[in-house]
Amino acid sequence: FPVAPEAEDEGKTLQLVESYLQNFYDLQKDPHPHLRSSGGENPLASKLKEMQSFFGLEVTGKPDLDTLEVMKKPRCGVPDVLR
């Protein structure tokens, strides 16, 4: 079946968010997402909150329009969170 446009957009958004948080907020790549325990906060949502807090956005843990707008801006490649 062809992929519905909304599902395709959702996939691209998730890809953008994951890539951004991996590059700039130390989000670890999860090689086995299906093995993740159900307890505890989703690491992606947690990192998203960190990013939203840094940029003074509303801290929702969700990729809302304001958050995506910041993620699409040209920027420096050095991470905002350095360990």
Binding site: F54, K73, P74, R75, C76, G77, V78, D80, L82, R83
Partner: protein, 168 residues
């Protein structure tokens, strides 16, 4: 402002820089001028001095690179990530890499080389990203006319906390 974790800094105030290659999108003279001006942003408010060298290893090596350029931080093509730089230290430390696939300019079209370089040199000297939207060290690109550029107070406070004030 924020420091790089571990507070790395140069142990000397007299630093050297070298331009490893040039972008074909600007004249060599304009690139030289953008780099000189970007360095002066930081040397104007600290005791730091920068001397250009030609054929030797410099503290700060500046280059234009494509995609994977063997530092484990590949560029992503036009837009997105514009450049990156390394914290003070040996080897890669202090080096500045500019994404060759960006539309580098000396004015407001595309991406202004001076503005991006001045930001990256902040990393080369030990500053991390600031969450002050008006700061030069804010992570996202924002154009300011180079002739009207003045280093924001947040960045002055940050760099002077590391190296002290200018002797002048």
């Amino acid at each position: 402002y924020a420091f790089t974790p571990g507070n790395p800094k140069w142990k000397r105030n007299n630093l050297t820089y070298r331009i490893l290659n040039y972008t074909p999108k600007m004249t060599r003279a304009d690139v030289d001028e953008a780099i000189r001006k970007a360095l002066s942003v930081w040397s104007n408010v600290t005791p730091l001095t920068f001397q250009k060298v030609e054929d030797e290893v410099a503290d700060i090596m500046i280059s234009f690179a494509y995609r994977d350029h063997r530092d484990n931080s590949p560029f992503d093509g036009p837009n997105g990530q514009l450049a990156h730089a390394f914290q003070p230290g040996e080897g890669l430390g202090g080096d500045v890499h500019m994404d060759e696939e960006e539309a580098w300019t000396k004015d407001g079209r595309g991406y202004n080389l001076f503005i991006v370089l001045a930001h990256e040199l902040g990393h080369s000297l030990g500053l991390s990203h600031s969450n002050d939207p008006g700061a030069l060290m804010y992570p996202t690109y924002s154009y300011t006319d180079p002739s009207e550029f003045r280093l924001p107070q947040d960045d002055i406070d940050g760099i002077q906390a590391i190296y002290g004030r200018s002797n002048a």
